[in-house]
Amino acid sequence: MVKSLRKWWPLFLLPTALSFAFGFVIPFAEGLYLSFCRFISISNPKFVGVSNYVAALSDPQFSHAFWLTALFTVVITVLINVIALAIALCFTRKGLRGSNSFRTVFFMPNLIGGIVLGYIWQILINGVLTNVGQQLLALNTAAGFWGLVILMLWQQIGYMMIIYIAGLQSIPSDYLEAAKVDGATAWQTLWKVKIPNLMPTITICLFLTITNGFKLFDQNLALTGGAPDHSTELLALNIYNTFYARAGAKWMGIGQAKAVIFCILVICISMIQLKATQSKEVQQ
């Protein structure tokens, strides 16, 4: 069968491969090349070596965005996973009424796009800030940062909760019964039986939240747009602003260099994730 299939490549392979070449491979290679160039459009790049990278790494706004993104990612990763796991543990209890409807409600914000979410929360947070006599988001860095954290909690807890519930339900019930027979308390069962068996799920959720935090763009753009004065700007938004919001021919190349650095960071996180999931699989 494989032999006869091989000659059908124009039908099976070509459409996807061609679109993939134009939608990913060529722009990726071109982007890599342009990060070493000075350009305003792709038709007239001038090779300038690594000077874009030097400029990108010495840009204080970029390093500020990097540390802010790192802090933001740590905060949301911890909060989302702790809260989502706690809720998942409650919802897998026997005899809790209404847990299906709660699940439906908590998952809902996930389906709404980042831009819409950002504006919903901008209206809500500005309303709260006005009523407690604080400055609005456009002038308030702390509110901008924590607002974004709350927005992400609201959006992602439901998602991670669903994955944790699936993980908890796949723990063999014999384990839990054995623990009960041995007289383990609920607390002991949690730490000695449930969490060790949940490690693959926890790894998945940790990396999902880390990459989501690192790549966050839409919510950041819609909620604060980086205001006041780029102080709530995360990495992805910083790259976007370097490209499109700054005057001068040199910024395009610097933006592309920043994008390459950003890309390498995200790839590193994924490599660590791959290693972590593989080592977990060996243990089992």
């Binding site: 059908w8 939608g23 709660f102 809902m108 980042g114 929360w121 209206i123 994955i163 763009f217 839409d218």
Partner: protein
């Protein structure tokens, strides 16, 4: 046992309150979408609608007729439907070919697909939008080819993961019975892969429907606005922001999503879970 029951009661009450808080942001937008423009201020954002501030359905009518929501909805629908259909058909065929033929080229292509899942959009946003411009892929009717290219990574990965679990004997039996590869794919492989089609379809729909940056950079946004672009345009646009119609737009964006979600909840949740576990 008595203690268990009491704990469950307390938890039910607690989660009921929390659920209400969870949907409050949407309820707040709903309230504001029925207010007159002058009554929507940051200080009164939480006040319920009263007879004095009510605008009836005026904001909705204005959003649909004057602010271009109907057109944006149409464009978003066209883009989502064509892109997801194209991704489902082309990527499942490609994944089957790649797994079954499995020569050097296929292996290299497969690793490239997996690699593309990791790369953030910012890496290629400029070059991709320039390329799309020069190739005339910048209308809502052609942008689906870009989505096929950029969305192929996840789709091929998920389909390929499933194809690997299908026993080769089934397809060989079909070949012996006289099916050519096209017939084998559409009559034998496709029906077996139905659950994966649903998962991939849901994940890609959620992505394309809500996507902002790709259509914003690729489409000529003075002519074609998708829903996220329209909502961003309200705030980022020039001069006076009409808050009432904007709230109505947000509501009309959320409502179809919520309805679809409530109707096919089980598929959506299981689709998302399988996507997360594999991705």
């Amino acid at each position: 046992m008595q203690r268990e029951k009491i704990t469950n009661r307390i938890l039910t009450v607690f989660f009921t309150v929390l659920s209400l808080a969870w949907i409050y942001p949407m309820v707040m937008i709903l309230m504001n979408s029925f207010k007159q423009g002058t009554a929507i201020t940051t200080a009164s954002a939480f006040d319920p609608v009263t007879a004095a501030t009510s605008a009836g359905f005026a904001n909705y009518i204005s959003a649909l007729t004057k602010q271009g929501f109907a057109a944006a909805f149409g464009y978003t629908l066209v883009i989502t439907l064509t892109s997801v259909a194209l991704i489902l058909v082309c990527c499942s065929m490609c994944a089957w070919y790649v797994v079954r033929v499995n020569n050097k080229f296929c292996k290299a292509l497969y690793y490239l697909f997996v690699f593309s899942m990791v790369v953030p959009f910012q890496m290629l946003m400029f070059t991709l939008s320039s390329l799309a411009d020069s190739m005339g892929l910048n209308t809502p009717y052609n942008i689906c080819f870009i989505y096929l290219g950029f969305g192929a990574g996840l789709a091929v990965f998920m389909f390929a993961g499933f194809v690997k679990t299908i026993p080769l004997e089934i397809e060989e039996a079909a070949t012996i019975d006289g099916c050519n590869p096209v017939q084998t794919f559409f009559h034998v492989v496709l029906p077996i892969m139905k659950p994966t089609y649903i998962s991939v379809g849901i994940l890609e729909t959620m992505w394309v429907w809500n996507d902002y940056l790709l259509p914003y950079l690729v489409l000529d946004s003075t002519k074609y606005k998708t829903i996220p672009i329209l909502i961003q345009y309200f705030r980022g646009g020039y001069g006076h922001v009409e808050l009432g119609p904007m709230m109505a737009c947000i509501m009309m964006t959320i409502l179809p999503i919520v309805i679809v979600y409530l109707l096919c909840q089980r598929f959506i949740i299981s689709g998302v879970v399988s996507g997360a576990v594999k991705g």
